[in-house]
């Protein structure tokens, strides 16, 4: 008797579970919102913005305090709109919170998001395509041609990585890129040239190795101490792979015409590229975060155990030594081919969600438009060190630093980071976003870790990574 009930109960549960499975075939329809909208100022609307901003008390520190200043200014322009905001912790927490709230219809109006998060949200059918807002017949809503030209092209394109139709799902806000921090004092003392290509990185690193072995300054170092010094460090193995592949036109991932993600990194050219860096690693010329046991290369850089470090511009602060121990130089990312320069772009965007009330969607769009405007994004960039999403905002940031009557060593570094980031604008690229894109990213990072650490041969590491992603 008891057993029969258990069986019936289990059968009921499994029927329930099967019926839950729904095949998704969401088409991104631009016309979910009209291309001829009117702002109804008589109707009070409340919108909610989810993000990961830290708590701050001073707007000069950026983050929540500055956002609140923006909100106040925005509400003066549109008194009928109330903007509420909420930090959801880190990015994984934010993504989980959005994913859980979508089926309950509890999602916010707008949210910080990475492309692969948005690629996951699309299935809910509740992502708002921005095309009809950008090109709206109402000029107060639409972007002007001047606005469109002002967005950093690479960042703008990141909104369109979801299909081949040009559907735009997000606008850039907190952006960053990678630059090379180098120990300017050391480079000048030893008359080293700042490398611009990977081959030069190799040459300069070899020179630094010789300096370590022969120079009087290192005479007191034990062999172990000398060995712990590696001239060049790259924080993110995944970025090294993706950037180097892009620089050499090696396929990494792609999106097919039927919107399926494609995993393309398992190829012979990519293996040659990996063996190029493996050779540098074996000769103690290069290291990476995981090879340092998870320690950021910037920590080694400020401790002068590393003389060139590639990291996110978002982490600029960590590359500045305390007490002005040495001068920090900033250089563009090394390249393989001067005619095909590529630099990865990073940082979250902001996407909007579909709501029943068009006025709510208009309100969240207007707020998004407001905080991504040139003035606001330059204020954000100055406060946080992140790159603005607008070309004109770069100019504002430069002018800000130029107008300072006295500039500290720290501000000089930030100023130079902004200059190099601006210089790299034409070379920005981004990879397609789809269900498995973040997994592909993790796995190509793991290829370097496994190959550097001699856990697997290059062939094995590639096929293992490919299997992990593809199946």
């Amino acid at each position: 008797m008891k057993k029969i009930f258990v069986v019936i109960f289990l059968a009921l549960i499994s029927i329930g579970l099967i019926s839950c499975k729904k095949v998704s075939n969401v088409v991104l329809d631009w016309d979910v919102i009209s291309d001829d909208l009117q702002i109804d100022t008589t109707q009070d609307v409340e919108i909610v913005f989810w993000h990961t901003m830290g708590k701050t008390t001073d707007p000069a520190m950026g983050q929540q305090a500055l956002l609140e200043v923006f909100i106040e200014e925005f509400q003066e322009i549109y008194p009928h709109i109330t903007v509420l905001h909420e930090s959801k912790g880190g990015y994984p927490e934010l993504r989980d919170a959005v994913n859980t709230s979508l089926p309950a219809g509890n999602e916010p109006n707008m949210s910080y998001s990475y492309s692969d998060h948005v690629a996951g949200y699309i299935n809910s059918g509740r992502i708002l395509p921005l095309n009809n807002l950008i090109n709206n017949k109402n000029p107060e809503i639409a972007f002007s041609q001047q606005d469109l030209d002002d967005f950093v092209p690479g960042y703008w394109e990141e909104g369109k990585v979801y299909d081949n139709e040009g559907t735009m799902l997000n606008l850039p806000f907190v952006k960053s890129t990678e630059v090379m921090f180098y120990n300017k004092t050391f480079f000048e003392a030893h008359e080293l040239t700042v490398p611009t290509t990977w081959d030069e990185v190799k040459t300069v690193s070899e020179q630094i190795r010789t300096i370590i072995d022969t120079d009087a300054a290192f005479a007191n170092y034990s062999v172990a101490q000398k060995n712990s010094i590696v001239p060049f460090g790259y924080d993110s193995e995944a970025n090294l792979f993706i950037t180097a592949a892009e620089q050499e036109n090696i396929p990494y991932t792609g999106i097919s015409d039927d919107l399926q993600g494609e995993i393309l990194f398992n190829n012979a050219e990519a293996k040659t590229m990996v063996s190029y860096f493996k050779d540098m690693y074996d000769n103690r010329l290069l290291t990476s975060k995981e090879m340092l046991g998870g320690d950021y290369t910037s920590n080694k850089f400020v401790a002068q155990q590393l003389f060139m470090s590639i990291g996110s511009t978002g982490g600029t602060n960590y590359n500045i030594p305390s007490g002005g121990l040495f001068e920090v130089g900033i250089a563009p990312l090394p390249q393989f081919d001067a005619d095909n320069q590529k630099v990865i772009q990073q940082g979250p965007n902001i996407n909007l969600f579909l709501k029943d009330n068009p006025q709510e969607m208009i309100a969240s769009w207007l707020f998004l438009k407001y905080i991504t405007a040139s003035e606001q994004s330059s204020l954000w960039a100055i406060a946080t060190g992140y790159s603005p999403g607008r070309i004109s905002a770069f100019e504002t940031v430069n002018t800000y630093y130029d107008d300072l009557t006295s500039i500290s060593a720290r501000q000089t570094v930030f100023k130079n980071v902004a200059l190099v980031a601006e210089q790299q604008i034409p070379y920005y690229f981004t990879s397609p976003a789809f269900g498995k894109s973040s997994k592909a990213r993790d796995q190509v990072g793991a290829i370097f870790v496994n190959v550097f650490g001699n856990t697997y041969s290059i062939d094995e590491a590639f096929s293992k990574a490919y299997e992990e992603v593809a199946f």
């Binding site: 990961t52 909420e86 912790g89 089926p103 320690d295 996110s312």
Partner: protein
Amino acid sequence: MYTEQQIKEQRKAKIISKIITYSFLTIMALVILIPFYWMIITSLKSAVEIEQFPPTLFPRQIVAYNYVEALERANLLRYFANTLIVSGFSTLFGTFFSIFVAYALSRLQFKGKEIIFTILLATMMIPGEMMVITNYITVSNFGWVDSGFGSRVTNGPYYAMIFPFMISIFHIYLLRQTFKQVPNELYYAAKVDGTSDWKYLWKVMVPLAKPSIITIIILKLMGAWNSYIWPNLVASENYRLITNGLRAAFSNSDTGRTEFQLQMAATVMVTLPLFIVFIFFRKYIMRGVSRSGIKG
């Protein structure tokens, strides 16, 4: 009779086994204590000193200001109060429910008792993670979720954190087994004396099952205290629990860096009350954990 030689050897063996035992215990104690030591010294170091390699074993300069800054940066007191409210209510109600259900399932006679128990047990086969979305939709329909607009029901997030996890089948099962061990004779004797079922439960069963009930209280408290994902989903800033505060308040999500000195200062402040509770109740906690065979 043992010879002197044999006595000596025995003594030697005894000493050696003692040395082995105590060195093993010392090593294990160190394994447990070092993370606590590290937490305390990290909370007193400066940001620069934390990044240093090799790390210092004692702060070169004691920065007590970390504690002040940690309190300023995160709304720790509020989170602490929230955690007390949520864990207090869910423990109180959860324990009462477990007692009632376990009593009914073990002592009372009614139709379908076994079926109900089987169905309850069957639900244990579904992992909690699978319930997240359905639970979320349910509490959201009740208006308990605060997604930034404020919840429709006042203090809704408290309800959303208390009710879905208030009843634990495992605890009911644990208590039912304990109740079942109480001899039937006691029940009949009580009945002969004219005691009601209600009175029998509180005067006889509950005092006899005290160790199990304390186990349940402790497990419930620990569960509520450690919950992380769910509160993050349903609660807004003002209703977050201490775990969410510790994890999120001191990390820069863009660079992936954490200000460990502040995080550890906050952790020390959170651990201290628990540590005091542990000192006073360690007898029960140790018994509780070993009885249930699981850690929380």
